[in-house]
């Protein structure tokens, strides 16, 4: 019996299912809705781990080929890939920290001046996972780990929207809605660069910018295309002999590269489907409960909330951030020496496109067109260098060929990891 209870409380799928079950019961949903919602949530975790297998397999091939071709470690930061990889080992920690972190967010919004409720559920999940990794690697366990993790998560869920809010008010022209996406440090940094280097007189929205690149907003397509370029480069660098004898089982090396690139995108697609199932019940429950308990709090919403305010800045922002990522990679390559090898952070498409776009909108609000270009480019450089600080505090996962990508994950993880390291 004890074993049964312990197994229930340590299996992430079941645990997250219980969180969703509690949310459904608290909302007084019908029995059939409660059963349906709980099963879907459990299924979400299992779907996610299925996708993780695909994505991790492809990115590991990429890492092997990069190492073979260039003699250095290549890292493609990607939240979904690293979370998928980490949930296998850190799923229990993630589930507890996420559940109690949301409670902490409500309490902080209720009793402190940080009146923000963080509604971007997938980022709550990823951040809970990141905090779980850092705390576990730092030596915390059990209730201590859950308590520290939940307080940290709840606090940053309220704090980061507060940091973004001054610029957010400029973008939306209102005080009603807050911004909730864990790239805030990058966006505020871009807005600051925009302010000092930009010129508000000409905004991005005054110019005519071709909208033909909008199809890249479809993340599966964007991931496939950019990974295709990266895979073809490493495949050529390795040469056909290595790829065909060591990795592809005889398949032509370019065909292998092509299929692996799209396999990675397919893995991410499945992970996202899993995340969607996991959150389908938890986010509405959290939203309903939080907004009724703290009615004067502002809802902090995912980054695309700012996109319609400046569609040109979205496209200019992601291109500029991507250029920043390429420049940053060039700098790392120049700094890398045989004596002091550093991992090379490659420009990963999702953070540059989503966070870069958001950085562009923020920097346009403070510095117009010039601010948007320079601010988003600075953001691209920032998210290329930040993972280098995070990876050393992530234990074994710090050696993976992928890592967390958005600015706040790197900032929170680096600070938390080093504080724990210093305390012990």
């Amino acid at each position: 019996m004890l074993k049964f209870i312990m197994d229930i409380l340590s299996v992430p799928a079941v645990l997250i299912g219980i969180v969703s079950f509690i949310g459904l019961v608290a909302q007084k949903k019908s029995t059939s809705d409660t059963i349906k919602g709980t099963i879907k949530t459990v299924m979400g975790v299992l779907v996610l781990s299925g996708g993780a297998g695909l994505a991790v397999g492809a990115i590991t091939h990429f890492g092997t080929m990069f190492q073979q071709g260039f003699g250095i470690t290549g890292v493609v930061p990607h939240n979904e890939a690293i979370v998928g990889m980490a949930l296998k080992e850190y799923g229990t920690q993630t589930a507890y920290i996420m559940a109690f972190g949301m409670v902490a967010n409500v309490l902080i919004a209720r009793f402190t001046p940080l009146k923000f409720i963080f509604l971007t559920g997938h980022h709550t999940l990823y951040m809970a996972c990141m905090i779980g990794i850092i705390l576990t690697v730092g030596g915390l366990t059990g209730i201590e780990m859950i308590a520290v993790g939940a307080v940290v998560l709840g606090f940053i869920m309220a704090l980061f929207p507060a940091i973004a809010h001054p610029v957010m008010k400029k973008i939306t022209g209102s005080d009603d809605v807050a911004f909730g996406h864990f790239g805030t440090v990058g966006y505020v940094f871009a807005a600051w660069i925009g302010k000092i280097a930009g010129n508000k007189a000409q905004t991005t929205e005054d110019i005519h910018f071709p909208q033909g690149l909008t199809f890249l907003r479809d993340s599966s397509i964007a991931i496939s295309l950019v990974m295709l370029v990266l895979f073809l480069i490493v495949a050529v660098a390795c040469g056909p002999l290595y790829v065909e004898t060591e990795l592809s089982g005889g398949q032509h090396f370019l065909v292998f590269a092509f299929l692996q690139a799209i396999t990675f995108a397919a893995g991410v697609y499945i992970i996202l489907a899993g995340v969607r199932l996991i959150l389908a019940e938890i986010v509405p429950a959290f939203t309903g409960i939080a907004t009724s308990l703290v009615p004067n709090a502002k809802p902090a919403i995912d980054c695309p909330v700012v996109y319609p305010y400046a569609p040109n800045a979205v496209l200019i922002g992601f291109l500029s951030s991507f250029v920043g990522g390429i420049l940053g990679m060039g700098i790392l390559l120049a700094l890398d020496t045989p004596v002091n090898p550093i991992p090379i952070i490659l420009p990963s498409v999702v953070p540059h496109f989503f966070c870069g776009a958001t950085a562009g909108v923020f920097a346009n609000a403070t510095g117009g067109l010039r601010g948007c270009v320079l601010g988003a480019m600075a953001h691209g450089l920032l998210i290329t260098f930040l993972p280098l600080l995070l990876m050393p505090v992530m234990g074994d996962l710090g050696f993976a060929n992928t890592t967390f990508s958005d600015a706040d994950f790197c900032v929170v993880g680096t600070i938390l990891g080093n504080v724990i390291g210093a305390l012990q």
Binding site: H122, D218, I301, Y307, F354
Partner: protein, 94 residues
């Protein structure tokens, strides 16, 4: 009536809009099935109405449904007005 809300990765903002649309439908007294997804999946998900913010709405045209393009995803009045118009259009077709 099937309504599909889309955004770039189908996680956050489309989900927020879905929750607001469900509320709006209840207020309008319209029966409807609302779900959210990413742009890649939109084509394989036949719906009567596709909803997206104005920066991606053009990607939703040609899928066979009425497209609602929102200039502000949190403006409930705009959403309700455009949704009501789209519902009338779907009902007129039927």
């Amino acid at each position: 009536m099937k309504i599909l809300v889309c955004c770039g990765s189908g996680l956050g903002s489309s989900f927020m809009m879905e929750m607001n649309i469900k509320k709006a439908l209840a207020e309008m007294g319209v029966e409807g099935e609302v779900s959210h997804c990413d742009l890649s999946s939109a084509a394989g998900n036949k719906s009567d109405i596709y909803v997206g913010t104005r920066d991606i709405a053009m990607e939703l045209t040609g899928l066979g449904g009425v497209v609602v393009s929102l200039s502000n995803m949190i403006d409930k009045e705009e959403m309700k007005e455009k949704l009501a118009a789209a519902i009338r259009e779907v009902q007129a077709k039927a």
